[in-house]
């Protein structure tokens, strides 16, 4: 009995290694996820893109992911585990993986890495991100049109440039409609915490905000806005089912085309380290359908989207005046340059709040 069990075990192990061999000629592509995949939010969108990748190139690649990898001391090991499992192209999908990815990249020069939203690169490590501020600008236009109280509520995650530039883009857009528009900002200091996000939404509504926007992941704020009869924008994913009468639009992360492009380059042997910062024109993100608004506002949003996509409208068009009343240096000709947006560390005039850490 014992012998047959052992034989069975050996057989199973062998079977496992045989299937590993047949998979060996496929390109192995690995993913590191920040959260559990769930059914919406940041990680979910990355996994949707992975699924799109499998659908497109499934006969040539094999994908593996590690979910819920904290952005701490464990990340380096998780990334290295993927390398050791034979993955040749690895997407690390959160900012906090920057240094760990770089460390592993330096150790394995023959493996290629793609790091989302960071700024450190290596000959075998690319970075990619999306110009979400373009979407925020469109949201700002809609919000100013739809707000009756003239007060917008903004749930911030962390006061990092990506989030700060989103707030600025929103308010700059809103000011073109209502010059004296106000925005209340609450820092949740988290990317995902439904309890905190719900509390923030309640506090914002209590302070008079009637359009809620968020840079956090959960649909909690959408649900609160829905309960209180206010309006809101989703984030990362389609959130309309949490507020059928509430969601105006949502910035959707659509990484699929980028992932497919990069894997194709890897397969063709043309992969090179680069920095991709794509906007609406390169489909790095998309806007959910414009809902719960009059046709006139919808048209305004669509026109802005078309203009931004065509490069005719820049959200950070000069002159831009900082909170201190002084004009911001215009390094990009008639708009701020990418460096200024990527490192944005100031509020524009009209935001009656103080940027944390300033």
């Amino acid at each position: 009995m014992r012998k047959s069990l052992l034989a069975l075990a050996a057989g199973l192990l062998l079977a496992g290694s045989v299937s590993a061999v047949s998979a060996a000629d496929k390109l192995k592509v690995g993913f590191i996820y920040l959260g559990p995949i769930g059914d919406l939010g940041w990680t979910y969108q990355h996994d949707l893109a992975r699924q799109a990748l499998v659908k497109e190139l499934g006969d040539q690649i094999e994908t593996t992911y590690l979910e819920n990898v904290p952005e701490g001391p464990d990340a380096e090991r998780s990334i290295e585990q993927l390398v050791r499992a034979g993955n040749k192209l690895i997407f690390t999908t959160s900012f906090g993986y920057m240094d760990p990815t770089l460390k592993v990249a330096k150790k394995y020069p023959n493996v290629h890495f793609e790091h989302a939203t960071g700024y450190k690169r290596n000959p075998n490590m690319s970075t990619y991100s999306a110009r979400w501020y373009q979407g925020r600008y469109i949201q700002g236009l809609i919000a100013a049109k739809m707000s009756k109280s003239g007060v917008l509520g903004y749930i911030g995650s962390f006061p990092i440039p990506e989030v700060v530039s989103g707030i600025n883009a929103t308010i700059l857009a809103a000011q073109t409609i209502k010059p004296d528009i106000k925005v209340k900002i609450i820092w949740a200091n988290t990317w995902f915490d439904p309890g905190k996000e719900a509390d923030a939404a309640k506090a914002l509504i209590d302070q008079g905000a009637d359009v809620i926007m968020q840079h956090t992941d959960s649909p909690a704020a959408m649900q609160i806005a829905s309960e209180r009869g206010k309006l809101a924008f989703g984030q990362d994913s389609e959130m309309i089912k949490f507020g059928p009468k509430t969601q105006l639009t949502s910035i959707l992360d659509t990484w699929g085309p980028y992932y497919i492009e990069r894997v194709k380059a890897e397969l063709a042997g043309t992969w090179k380290s680069q920095d991709s910062w794509g906007g609406l024109d390169s489909h790095m993100f998309a806007m959910a359908p414009y809902t719960n608004m009059p046709d006139e506002v919808k048209k305004l949003a669509e026109d802005a989207q078309t203009a931004i996509t065509a490069g005719k409208l820049h959200p950070f068009k000069c002159p831009i005046v900082g909170q201190d009343g002084k004009p911001v240096e215009c390094k990009g000709g008639d708009h701020l340059d990418d460096g200024q947006i990527l490192g944005m560390n100031f509020y524009v005039k009209g935001i009656d709040d103080k940027l944390p850490g300033k």
């Binding site: 593996t64 979910e67 701490g72 001391p73 464990d74 585990q81 240094d99 490192g343 560390n345």
Partner: protein
Amino acid sequence: MQLVLEKRAERSGTIALVSPLIAIGLTVVTMVILFAILGKNPLLALHAYFIAPLTDGYSLQEIAVKATPLVMIAIGLSLCYLANAWNIGAEGQFLIGAVAGSWIAVKTQGTDAGAWVLPAMLVLAAAAGALYALIPAICKVKFGASEILTSLMLVYVADLFLDYLVRGPWRDPNGFNFPTTAEFDPVATVPLLIEGGRLHLGSIIALLVVAAAAILLGRTIKGFEIRVVGAAPRAARFGGFNANQLIILTFAISGALAGLAGIIEVAGPVGHLQPGISPGYGFTAIIVAFLGRLNPLGILIAGLFLALTFIGGEQAQIAMKIPLDVTKVFQGILLFYVLACDSLILYRFKLSFPNRQVASGTH
């Protein structure tokens, strides 16, 4: 009919030793069933969990790296728990140690400070951890405040303090406003033991800590006092042992070890100070301490075992596409069985029939 737990008159020494093994055995059986339900090959899955990580040098290193902070913190906690002092706030002491040590690293950054930097960081971190742990200890001794609550609440204070520092004064000026300090200089970094690997000096320190704790508990009067105060408080009082003094002492040691673990983690595997440096080490170490039966050697084994489940869980995710949640279920089941088996050492089930007549009437 009632099922009650009745205390056993005597407990078997053999069973006390075998009980963790029974628990692991039961866990394995449960996991086999679970894997089968998930449609995964149980043998391959168990192989990925338990055997594969032990078969190559890389994974062994990673197990040691993962176990290092857990073991160091758990050793300190075990001293507290043996002395009946309930330090739940090791996570906070870990963070404060990391902050205090990082202070030197941040202040000497870019200067030509020499080899004294790292030792100074370690000493300061241990001191800060100890001082931070003394707050709940003194509140307990002087005012009778529950150390469970105060030490736990101080975790959040430490967490927010660290958060403030890396978002404000210590933020990397070239870091695009992201909440992290700059990478520490080489003199402020824990040296690696193997070139190109991740095993670092901290693992050696952890082993020394285990040895020191074994000597303290097994060969010194202080160690004897700690055990007696916890096991037989009245006897200890008659023996003239000062329980309050021991609360202070064990909290200080435990805080120092947690603080040391904190700076080793930051100056070692992480390389800079940032929020989220601990994935809950201070709390997981509580599990390690009890899994190791508050015994230094046991804690070392328990720490390595828990680390193995982390690494193995990750490899199972990669090799077998087993979801991470299963690893967590696995750890939960393990703890459940350990506690269940422990209870059965001390207690036994007994059926009692308080209202026999009524009961028989209804049947």
